[in-house]
Every structure is written in structure tokens, then in C-alpha cells.
Symmetry: D2
Subunit: 366 residues, 4 copies
């Protein structure tokens, strides 16, 4: 049997995510062990493809990296070859179409296939590269867990673990001081991190983009807890949580969101509103980049290994234009196009939302 790909490129695009190195390792080892193929690592995502920064990955280089956060290949956000920022004169940036360079480098390096690990943006570029004749295989990456084609993505379990540990920590202070603690977590459009992290941390209030909230139920929950047996409240709020449209605070938030240098996010805003609305001392903590970094959990290491091996199989066997995905515990290839259509958001009647309500969690909608 002959295989389609003897030389396979691999790159990581977009924000970093625990598990990227696990994918790179599995792609490389599988390609080498099962197919005798050569794997070329491309630096800093599509940026490295345009600029020709790439190198052969040795067995040694990918050994021992499964448990390391980040990506040994580096990543970049400026990588769209069709819209590439170029400094045309001192300080003046112009966006140009440098896709010809990316394609030329694919040819120069003799890449029979290219594995692109990334989110939305990366998959869109992958589609376009495919149309331009490059044999692409996608590996979905989104810490928010909102890629539609797959049930779950690596990095998500690690992010949720960071959230849960943070809530555990904040709860001891909250309980000692009878305070309200607000923790702002990632999730601009999909609330999976807030939902899972909040349920695991035993948050009393969880605010998601998918379930618009009002202040009254939130204040009510705070009052109920502070006055009764417990005297502290934990609020877990997704970046993208929102009040119903038409509310003035939505407008204020929208304004802030467009300001790249905004100093206080939704966490600070919710904390202020609760303190003013209930009279109880309230503090906000923003987890931010802590959610992206560090060693991946077991689940993420296992998923990254499964994804990487599957992607190498697709690449080596000539199954192109697909993204590997996990569905009902099985890893399989799906068309890239399917993967990039929309977002997988939390259904308001999701069984975990229901379970959380049953144990007393308030989602701010009633």
C-alpha cells in the first residue's frame, strides 16, 4: 500500500490552548511510526508558512512535551495569508495578499499535506488553502468548546479546572468574610466554561451568554444566602453574559467591549451592581489568561493524542478537507466546512443547566 503523503506540515494557529503540544507530538510520532513520513513544523502559524520559517521535527523534539502547556511551534494572530499585515514604511501597516508566498512555501518544502491546528479563523484559512490546492487536515482548537463539528475540544477541561480551583480558593475568603465573590471567566459567545466551572465549583449564581439575566433574581439569591445559614455567595460570570436587550447596562457593556483599553470588564460591573443593589461587600476576580496556560489535564492530554493520531492518519492516507472530531466518544473525520458553520452554544435547557438549577444554582433568569 502506498500512502498519499510522505511529507506532512503541521502548524498551530490562534490563541494558545493546553494540549497543542500533545497534538503536535501525536501527529509527528504517528506519521513517523506508522507511515515513515517526515513531519515539518511551521513556526507561528500561517505567519511561518508565509515567511518560510519551518523545520523538520525530530522524534526527540516532540518527546516529553505531552504534559507541557503552550505550543513548541509558536502561534500568531496575524497569519491570514490573504490578508497579511506588512509594514510598508516606518510604522505604516498595510494588509496585502501574500497567499502566493504561502503556496510557494508549501511547494518548496514538498508538503504533501498540511495539518492545521486551530479555531474558527484557522479553519477558514484551511478551507481557502484547500481551495487553492493544498491538502489540508484540520484539528479543532477552542478553549471555549464551541466548535460545532465536535462534542469536545482539548484545552477546555484544563480551563474549567483552573476556574474550579479558583472558585475553591475564593470561596474560603468569601466564607470567612461573608462576602460576595464574582469570578469572570472566558466565554464571549458560548458559556460552557462558566457552566462547567461554576457547577464544579458549586457557584451559587452562573451567568451565561445564552441565558440573559436580570438583576432581581441575582440580588435575591445573594440576599437569600447572606441572610440564611450561609453568609457568602459565589457568582461565576462568562465574559459574554448579558442583560436582556434594551437594558441600559447592555449598552454600557457594549460600549466598553469596543474599547480595546477598557479597564473593567463584566466581572467588575457585576460586582459593582451587586454591592450597590444588595449592600453586601463584593469583590471581582478576572481569571483571564490563567485559563489558557499550564499543563493540560488528563482528559486534554488523551484527547490531544487521539486527535493528533487521527489527523496523521487522515494526512497520510489522503483523506483531505476534513477536520478530526470527537462524537459520542469516537474520533472521526468530518468535513471542514461543517466545522466552521456557526457555534456550538449552551442550550438553555441543557441537562447540566437543569441539574444545576436542581441543586439551587441561580442563572439570573428567574
Amino acid at each position: 500500500m502506498t500512502y498519499q503523503a510522505r511529507r506532512i506540515g503541521v502548524l498551530t494557529g490562534g490563541g494558545d490552548c493546553p494540549g497543542l503540544n500533545g497534538v503536535i507530538r501525536a501527529v509527528t510520532k504517528t506519521a513517523q511510526n506508522d507511515y515513515g513520513a517526515t513531519v515539518i513544523g511551521i513556526e507561528d502559524g500561517f505567519e511561518g508558512l508565509v515567511e518560510g520559517r519551518m523545520r523538520e521535527l525530530t522524534h526527540q523534539e516532540v518527546s516529553g512535551i505531552l504534559g507541557h502547556g503552550g505550543t513548541i511551534l509558536g502561534s500568531s494572530n496575524k497569519g491570514d495569508p490573504w490578508h497579511y499585515p506588512v509594514e510598508v514604511s516606518e510604522g505604516r501597516i498595510e494588509v496585502q495578499d501574500l497567499s502566493y508566498r504561502a503556496l510557494r512555501n508549501v511547494e518548496r518544502w514538498g508538503l504533501d499535506a498540511l495539518v492545521a491546528i486551530g479555531g474558527d479563523g484557522t479553519m477558514h484559512i484551511a478551507s481557502r488553502m484547500m481551495d487553492a490546492g493544498v491538502n489540508m487536515v484540520g484539528v479543532p482548537k477552542t478553549i471555549d468548546n464551541d466548535v460545532p463539528g465536535t462534542d469536545v475540544t482539548f484545552g477546555f477541561d484544563t480551563a474549567v479546572t483552573v476556574v474550579c480551583e479558583a472558585i475553591d480558593r475564593l470561596a474560603t475568603t468569601a466564607s470567612s468574610h461573608h462576602r460576595v465573590m464574582v469570578v469572570e471567566v472566558m466565554g464571549r459567545y458560548a458559556g460552557w466554561i462558566a457552566l462547567m466551572g461554576g457547577v464544579a465549583g458549586g457557584a451559587d449564581v452562573i451567568l451565561l451568554p445564552e441565558i440573559p439575566f436580570s438583576w432581581e433574581p441575582v440580588f435575591g439569591k445573594v440576599h437569600e444566602r447572606q441572610s440564611l445559614h450561609k453568609r457568602f455567595t459565589i457568582v461565576c460570570v462568562a465574559e459574554g453574559a448579558r442583560l436582556p436587550d434594551g437594558d441600559e447596562v447592555v449598552a454600557e457593556m457594549d460600549k466598553k467591549r469596543t474599547d480595546p483599553k477598557r479597564l473593567g470588564g463584566i466581572g467588575a460591573m457585576v460586582a459593582r451592581a451587586i454591592e450597590e443593589g444588595t449592600g453586601h461587600e463584593t469583590r471581582a476576580t478576572v481569571l483571564g489568561h490563567l485559563q489558557r496556560g499550564g499543563a493540560p489535564t488528563v482528559a486534554d492530554r488523551v484527547l490531544a493524542t487521539g486527535f493528533g493520531a487521527a489527523a496523521a492518519h487522515c494526512a497520510a492516507r489522503g483523506e483531505f478537507g476534513v477536520m478530526v472530531a470527537s462524537r459520542n466518544g469516537i474520533i472521526l473525520p468530518v468535513p471542514i466546512a461543517e466545522a466552521v458553520a456557526g457555534q456550538r452554544r449552551v442550550p438553555p435547557d441543557h441537562h447540566l443547566v437543569a441539574a444545576a438549577r436542581s441543586v439551587g444554582t441561580c442563572f439570573g433568569d428567574r
Copy 2:
């Protein structure tokens, strides 16, 4: 709408497991919040039911326990009411049928339903209680992840995390000293812990009950690694790993297993064999009870919450004779009978076994 159960008992049977408290909490809160029901906690499994040791669980008692290992209710192995050990005279134990006492206590405490959280043994007793007229709801618990009725059980992810962290630790010593490190993990009949923990820890050799191994491939892997670029090897072996039938070592192992005071398990035996067979310094570590204890991971907290809420719904709504289960990400009730038929073992062609082989892991069979 009237509900079937106003008073719901809950007990935990068998070995402990991270997440038990999460289930107790979710059962109690859901029963109280959604149905206004009363929950009676039974101490030390069916032992407490026989002996009448039980108490009403307050909201406060189940608050803040989601992240705590162990079980606030206690557990016991001597709990089968139909075969109950009784000290009939100084030091002489006799097994008696005390099921009438268990049934009498169900009546005395007015239990409309009884939620039993446990493994195999507990589910068998639950079936028998059901036949005797008690309204039972089961929640599966097995750290080995081998209950057939459900895709996954709580405690498993935590156990695997302990294994992975241990391998991470042992790998640094192995690599500094160019040694072989053998780590023995739980799994007498099913190798899920060894498989997942080994893949996540990047073990070079994984030995499972489901894939009988020979020494040659294991020695070969050790030689390959020690002589080439890396100079250390990590071997992850399940308690129940075994050589092909007929092998003398199987006989030796079988003999040891029947000896309750045996001093060295399979880990020590594999370490000795590797040291003698390859000449490389080898050390064994037995994780034992470390795998059962401590704070549950996020995945286990979430699953425990989902299971507990679902069990309370079944109990309160009169859906008896069922065990809650997770299938393809959905939590639903299945007949208890189905749950106790056999064991869910690792299929030798499981996709994770295949992925592990692709990244170079040896399972000792070839």
C-alpha cells in the same frame, strides 16, 4: 402533581471514590428544592440500614462538600443484609440473614424510596431489596470505570489524574537516572485506569488485563529506549495484567493473589523481570489507595452532580428499579438488572489503544 416519594433514603456502599459527596449533595438538594422531600442519610452503607443508624440530612450538612473526597455517610463492606456477619460469641463470627431488620428500618423511617450509591455488590443488593418491596434507585460507582450500563462513572477521572501525576513525577527520576520505572495501578479486571493514565502520562509500556503480554516485546521496548536517544522507560501496569495462560508466571501471580498478606504485587514482579531480563535498573511504585482519595476533579464533580440530581428525580417521581447512567453525554435511567450484567472491559481494538500504538506505546503483545 403529587410525587411518589416524600422521604428518600440515601446510602453509599463499597469502596470509597471521589465524587460520592457530590452525589449525596445533589440528591439531597434536588429532593429538597424541587420536591420538598426529606432525605435520610444512612450511615456506613447497608450496615447502617440493618443497624438503624440514620439521620435526616440538613441543607447545611450537604453544603460545601462537593469538592471533598470520601463520603460523609461512611461506607462498609460488610453490608449485605442477607449475609450479615454477626459476632455470636467472643471472636466467633457467623453470617446471618438480617434482611428483616433492614426492611423493618425502611418502614420505621418511612422511606418511600432508597437511593443506593455503589458498585456491583451494592447493585445486586439493591435488586434484592427491590424484589423485597423497597423502591430502589441506583447510582453506579466504580473507580475502575467497568460498570456495563454506563459510559463513565465518577471517581475514574480523579483516579486517572493521580496516576498521570505520579507518572510525571516518576519520569523525572527515571530520566535523571536512566532507569526503568514501573507503576502499578488499579484495575483487576478492566484496564481503563492503566490505559487512560498511561496514555496521559506518556508511558512507554502499558499492560492491561484485556491484552495478555509476553516479556519479549516489553524487554525489546526497554532496550530500544535505553540504547537510543532516551535512556529511561516508564511502564504502567494494571493490577490484573497477565501473561498468556499456561505461563508459569501466571501461576505464580495467581498464587500470590489468593494470599491476602502477599507482599509484592504485579508491579514488583514486572520490575524484577525487567531488571533481570534487560540488565537495566528498575524500580516499582504501587499507587494503591492514593487513587481513591482526595478532591474530585471537575469532570467527577460535574458527573456526580448530574447523577445525584437524576437519581432524586427518579426517586421523587416514582421511577424505581433503575440505575442512572451516562450514555453519549446524556444522563438517563436504565434498568438495574442491565447494569449488573458483566463488566465493561477495554476492547483490544479500542481507538485509544490504537492511538497509543501509533505514538509508540507497547502493550506487550507484539
Copy 3:
């Protein structure tokens, strides 16, 4: 031998700190085991003493709490009995002298001695209580490690561990994206947390209150790292880090500090300055309350146990007016007065500062 104290009160004042429960446990067990004394737990610091909220602590209540963060007694910041906030009418707060109530409750509850666990403020009140005739024993508590009477306080090692873990996490993202990451840590007047946490995390720049910094060396370090072999930089900045007096930014920071609702702290400010000054993408993370919460480290558990036992000995044996302290690894009582004189700050020529400079860390002063 007869002891001075049969009934010993204990309270925790000020911000919470990992290890408080360890002290409460050791005070209680030592008083009970070694002296047969009774220990009365006072709720929410001096607030509970004024309001008479206290209860006898049982052996059971203090069992198993050594590893738990927070304080089972609760704490409060409004506790000075001589300046006690009282709501005199709807919403109008007036500060009154309610010290007579605190003293009356000491008498009513028959407290022969009172162990006060807290920082600066608590020790000042303890001094005043001592003058008013109450037999006081102090236990120093300050997460910033700046109490002058003792070499080290519990909670500090835990806080530093949180900082180091956060830097480990942020470093993976920084390195993947070639970014500058600024992490703001506690330390308004003393930079011990930033120093220890920064050294342990391998921070490239550490900014302390004790060593005023200028922008040039900081920008220089960033340039050096981004242009050479590494392409990321970690900056660890204490809340109280500052530019030389006279600098405009000092004025701006001073203004912000007085604003209780200020949205961006020094971390955000430093990040903005670096991004503007060097052109490299920079992100800030504020650890805030994460540093106070959660399970204490081994060092903090051991120190808390030692402090608590020592305080109980002092209380029971009639050694009053002292605070327990750790000096050169020995735990001993020192006069409270000594403990509250000034602050223990980082000497700019501290050997760890020197070691950090040797491994290449920039403190922004040269």
C-alpha cells in the same frame, strides 16, 4: 502546678489567610490536651466579642481543619471596639466606643486569656485590650510577611505558591505568543511576595515597593529578551511598586489608589506602558484574592501548628502581652509592642535580590 488560664478565648481578625484554621486547631487542642482548659471561639474577630457571639470549641469542631483555607470563626474588618460602626438610623453609620461591651463579654464568658490572631490592626487592638486589663496573647498574621517581630508568618508561603503557579501558567502563553505578561501580586508596602514569587517563577522583571523603578531598564529588558533567543518576558509587579517620586506616573497611581472603585491597578498601568514603550503585545493579570484562599502549603500548616501551640502555652501559663514569633527557626514569645512597630520590608541588598540579579532578573533600577 496550677495554670493561669482555665478558659481561653480565640479570635481571628483582619483579612483571611491560609493557616488560620491550623492556629485555631493547635490553640484548642493544646489547651485541652496539655492544660485541660476550655477554649471559647469568638465569631468574626472583635466584632463577635462586642456583640457576644461566641461558643465553646469542641475537639470535633477543630478536627480535620488543618488543611482548610479560611477561618471557621469568621473574620471582620469593622472590629475595633473603641471605634465601632453603629447604624444609628436608616443608613446612617456612626462610630462609637463600644469597648465596654467587649470587656463585659470577656468577663461574662470568664475568659482568663484571649488569643488574638491577626495583623497590625489586630495587634494594636490587642495592646489596648491588654491595657484595659485583658490577658492577651497575639499570633501574627499577614500574608505580606511584613510583621517586624517575626521572620516569617503563615499564609505567605501559600500566597507565593499561588503566584509561582500563575507565572508558570502565564509563561506558556507568553512563550507561545511571544508576548509580555505582567502579573500583579499583593504587597502594598513590602515586596516579599513579588520577590519570592518572582524568583520562583523565573520572572524576568520584578518590581517592588522598596526599589523604585524607571521605565528605561524595564523596556531594555523586554527588548533584550524579545530580540534575542527568547521571545517573551514575564513581569512580576507588587501592588505598591512605584516610580521615583516626582514622576508623573506616581501622581497618577496615587490618584488611582485613593479611588475605591478604580478599575485598573498598577498591573494594567505597567502593561500599557510597556506596550506603548516597546511596541510588544502585553497583557496584565491581577491575582488579587486568589493569593489569600485555598489550602495552606506544608510550610504554612507546620508554622500555624507551631504558632498555635506556642500561643496556648503562653495563655495557659500566664505569659501575657506577648506575640508568638519565629526567629531563626525557633518559635518564641516577643512583646506585642515590638511586633507592631513599623514594617519588615525587603532590604534592597537582600541576598535573594542579589541572587535574582545574578541570574539576570531586572528590578527596574538599573
Copy 4:
């Protein structure tokens, strides 16, 4: 000012220990940054010196390793150049004096000074090398914390942290099942790990080499706990814990210790004795190599950095024949001879032993 050493060798000897990489990093960076010196890394301890396996350490190679366990240089136990094992014919090993090779390699590589990081054995060899004319600087390394010249060594805090986390885990199982749990920790001659780990984990019984124990007090403690409020007991036992001389069990233990393949250590023996002596179910766990591996704690990273920087200063400035040490929080050089005289053991009246007794811990001696 001219410095004594332009080329500095560094090696790690003996068992591995978290923090070794931190020392290597600090030696290298300090030598490079402060003295413009070159650092030569020697592989696998004195073995690499004899065999000439060494390489220049680059800045890049020592970057980012502060938080990694193990040693990038490798270690070895066969390293004494004066008693070097040589395979003289197939399988026949002979011990030879190859010190001339080690000295020749010092000369060939132009090493002006040699930093040896290791324990007892390494310091003895260092002394001998010094006598042979090599400029030696020692860095003490012993996970047991028993080097006499220094108050504390790196690796110890990490080991104790592993012990404490293990006890935390085991306690949940012990408490759920009303069991006795025995945990065997390192410490053949000095009981620091058992003492600190036991106190931090809240162990009920701690058995040290320095305090011979009898069975009666141990059984008594178990009975007291099982019968009263708590129903579980945690026993922390050092490898070298022992019964009074003359006891038969001592003889049995001594016999086992001389058997290199002994299957059960002191932990298993203590567990059996307790189960037989009290009738309570008892389980043993042996932590073994888990205590040596993994990421160093903050305290160990800071200490390693301080030791490494100090050793580089000594080497570069020509202060030879010394070992760096920590005394009362200050890092300073002491004569190597002083460091290797005897062992720093736990004084039976150590203040932490006293504090542990006060909180109810049994040391088995009364």
C-alpha cells in the same frame, strides 16, 4: 579585578532531587552574567568526568528549567573515580582506580573550578578531588534534610509536600471506611520528612528513627481514635523507624533491610502489627520514588537559586574547598569537611515534636 575561574564545571551526583535544575541554572547564569565565565556541564555525575562526557552549557539550555524536576545533566551512583566499576570481561565487574582519568579530563577541559551538587558521597569525593588539586565548590543535596552543615536543603520541601498531599488523600478513604492507614516515607536515619509531613498532614501517629517506639502506645492511640468521635487513624512512618534494641521485630526488620529484594518494608510491617494488635482494618502505602520527583515547590526553587548563585560566586572568586549552606536564612560558604561530619538528625525534644505532642500526635514512645 580578575577572577580565579574562567571555566567552571558543574555536575550532579547521587539520587535525584527537585531543585537540581534550579542550581544548574543559577550556577550557569551567574557565572555567565556576573563573571563572563564559561560553564561546562558534566553528564551523569563523576561518571561523566571519568568518561569525558561533558559539554558547554548555553544560556538557552538552562532557560526555563527552574520548575522542572530531575537534572538535565543526569546522575549516577557508580561515580567514585577512585572506586570505579569496570566490566573487565563479559559480565565480570571489577572496581578500579580511574581517578587519573577524572583529573586528566579536568585538565583537558581547562576547568578552573568544579561545582559538585550532591549529598554525603558526593562531598566525600569532592574532598578527595580537592586534595588531588581540583578547585572544588560543593552544593549540598539531600532530600532527607540531614546534611549537618546547613539548616535546610532543596528538595526537602517538595518531598514533604508529596507526603502531605498523600496523607490528605489517604485520610478521606480512612475516614470513609473507619480504617487505619499507614504511610511509609523516606528517612532511613533522619526523620525530618516524617515529622514535617506528618505534622502538616495531621497524622495521629508519627514514627521516627530518632524516637524508638513500642507497640502499646501506638495501639492505644488507634483504640482511642477508633472508639471515640473519630473512627480512623493515620500513621506516618519513616523508613528507618525502629523498635527499641533487643526487640525481636527489630531483628526481623534488620534482616529484611539487608535483603535487596525484600518485598515488604516497615510500612507493611507496622500495618500488619496494628491490624493484628488492634483488630482494626489497616492498609499500608509506600510513597517511595514519588517523593523525589516532579516540579520543585517555591521554597525549593528559591533555595536552589540562592545556592547556585552562591556556588558560582565562590567558584569565580576562588573560594574553594567550601560547600554553600543556609544558616538562619543566610546563604554562606562553610568548609566541606564540616558538611560531611555525621548527620543532622531530629532532636527528640525538637520544638515541632513538642508542638505535635500538644496537638495530640503520638510518637510511640509513651
